[in-house]
């Protein structure tokens, strides 16, 4: 058997990138850092109570009073454990990584749904991103972006993007072919077909993808703490390294709360909400026909 030096090759590529296109990575790092700073200022600038109220209102709007109460209690517990800043730092990392993953993931998913060739290319790349052990690309990320929060965001982004792409593609492919035919038969352009029919009908699947992206991102917090990203990850890592059960458990509890909050919040949206009535002055008895349960 020939002795392949794949690892050496990858290492050489990383070194080459580091030496020759450092500017690109510096730019990415700067943009990411700026985004993080903006989000972090927004989250930690106002007093914690303001954030608690906003989060509670969001929870109320998405699910109702029970979820709002849970949110308020959870955030108050976090604050009383003196972990407010760390929790907001983690939230900022998760939000920024998820937003980047969505901004890149949804168009990629659309592209994969429209072209068989793109789908064939994208799928193994996603498999690679999802299954390659995180540390394996965390190390090159540190080389390229330096120690700190940026490589954590990049690694989180890489880990979190696959479900966004996959569920977007799936959602678009699952749109009833007769709907697509109807749209085309009425002369829709490919863009009109996508905007007016395919994307709206794929919304439940895309929202499920978004939910998964955020959950995956959150599962990266502890690992992010290891490369100096701060936040709850750093608290947990500190607890582990000092064998401090109290610190470790408090950090872990805050992560769990954040996970439940983000999951319930984002999974509330796939349920279609009734839009404003188009012809408001119609007689109300027109709705007398029993409303069939909507297929999500």
């Amino acid at each position: 058997m020939p002795n392949l030096h794949i690892g050496d090759a990858v290492s050489a590529i990383v070194t080459w990138l580091q030496e020759n296109v450092a500017g690109v990575f510096d730019a990415i790092a700067a943009i990411t850092q700026w985004l993080l700073d903006v989000v972090l200022v927004a989250l930690t600038g106002p007093p914690p109570l303001v954030i608690v109220v906003i989060a509670a209102l969001l929870a109320l709007w998405a699910r109702g009073i029970g979820f709002a109460v849970f949110t308020v209690l959870g955030l108050l517990v976090v604050e009383s454990m003196q972990l407010w800043t760390e929790t907001m730092e983690t939230l900022a990392i998760v939000l920024v990584a998820s937003v980047i993953a969505v901004v890149i993931g949804i168009p990629t998913g659309i592209w994969a749904a429209r072209s068989k060739r793109a789908s064939v290319v994208v799928r193994p790349v996603l498999d690679f991103m999802q299954t390659l052990p995180v540390f394996v690309y965390l190390i090159p990320a540190v080389f390229l972006f330096g120690i700190g929060v940026v490589p954590a965001v990049v690694a989180t982004f890489i880990f979190a993007i696959p479900p966004g792409v996959r569920l977007t593609e799936l959602g678009l492919r699952q749109v009833d072919p007769e709907m697509v035919e109807a749209s085309v038969a009425f002369g829709a352009t490919p863009w009109q077909l996508l905007r007016q029919v395919q994307l709206p009908l794929a919304v439940p699947s895309i929202m499920a993808g978004l939910n998964q992206v955020i959950m995956m991102a959150l599962s990266m917090v502890v690992i992010a703490g290891m490369v100096g990203a701060g936040g709850l990850g750093a608290v947990v890592v500190q607890g582990i390294s000092r064998l401090d059960i109290a610190v470790g458990f408090e950090g872990g509890l805050a992560v769990v709360f954040l996970a439940i909050f983000l999951d319930r919040l984002t999974s509330a949206f796939p349920r279609p909400r009734r839009r404003a009535v188009a012809v408001a002055d119609e007689a109300p008895e027109a709705v007398a026909v029993q409303a069939v349960p909507r297929v999500a």
Partner: protein, 418 residues
Amino acid sequence: MHPVLTQVGTTTSFLSPPIDKAISMATMIEARGLTKRYEPAGNERRRFRRRSETTETTGTLAVDGVDFDVEEGELFVIMGLSGSGKSTLLRMLNRLVDPTSGSLHIAGQDMLAMDDAQLRTTRNSTINMVFQHFALFPHRTVLENAAYGLQVRGIPEAERVERAQDALETVGLGRWGHVRPQELSGGMRQRVGLARALATDAQILLMDEPFSALDPLIRRDMQSLLLSLQEKVRKTVVFVTHDLNEAMRLGQRIMVMRDGRVIQLASGAEILSTPADDYVANFVSDVDRSRVVTVEHVMRPPLITARGDEHPQAVLDRMANVEGGGVYVVDERDRIIGVATDKHLADGIALHQERIDSLVCDDFTTIEIGSRLIEVMPLVGRHSVPLAVTDHDGRLIGVIPRAALLNTLADNGRSLNA
């Protein structure tokens, strides 16, 4: 613009019945040799190597060299079982399926020469479609669904809403614009599908088994709606169905397909009376012929009639030669004055009446020519004289004795025209 004129000369193919020549309306759809061949899956790679050999010999012919014309304002039915190629053929008319070969002209324009933009314009404003499973958009209200074609066209919202509302009112759903399609029953959903196609003012309507997902009662309602819409708006309709009764009820002409080929193209009555082959004959045997056959096919000339100025004795003498208890009395233009029964005639002779017109009674029923047998059935056998068939001016042109009607309904189609 396109070389259409060269095609016009060949319009009258052997398949087209004489009705084409009689009516001088514009040809809306002109299909010649339309063919669709599907390559079997996985054959693509082999084709790269042996393109010339494989293209002609492999693949399934979904539609095989179909010719037909549809006139403006005609309701043209394509009939066939599943797998007969009828839906593929329909989809070639707006190029949802691209033909492998053949030519197609819609409203004089060469469909197959169009680029994507022209094709979209044609689909949007000339040739719309109604789908088997309605294909309504669940994320839009009924009104927004009906306005879809106009939205694609870029019509401003106010006008869009107004025209969509008009279309909804045409199909009887004016008050339902604000609900979601999934809140409606099947029949109402297909009305929305119809409104969506009507709102664009497209001249041609392609209907792909639009009523087959509905239950029989609703289906009849929808057929009636379509027929009454045709009276009002006169679209050119190409209607695909697997139900021959539906085909017979709706179609001015019916094209029967099997295995991608046209087996017969004729009017419903012609298909009933002279099916092209055993396959069609088999189909026809299931048809309720009372809904298709018209009175002309059953009536015969009256054996005797009488004039109002005749003497009762003379009429009674003639009646002795035929069975039956009465005779139609007509005026000089053959319009029915009334019926003279044998009893009344005998009474008239006893009273020394000279003319029979004072003896007539109205113990008879008439039906206009063109009526279906199903309308005739409850009227036959009520009176001493057979049912009278009249033309539009009320002139007596034939009678339907009860025996003739029963004979036709029991007949298996051999001797309708005999």
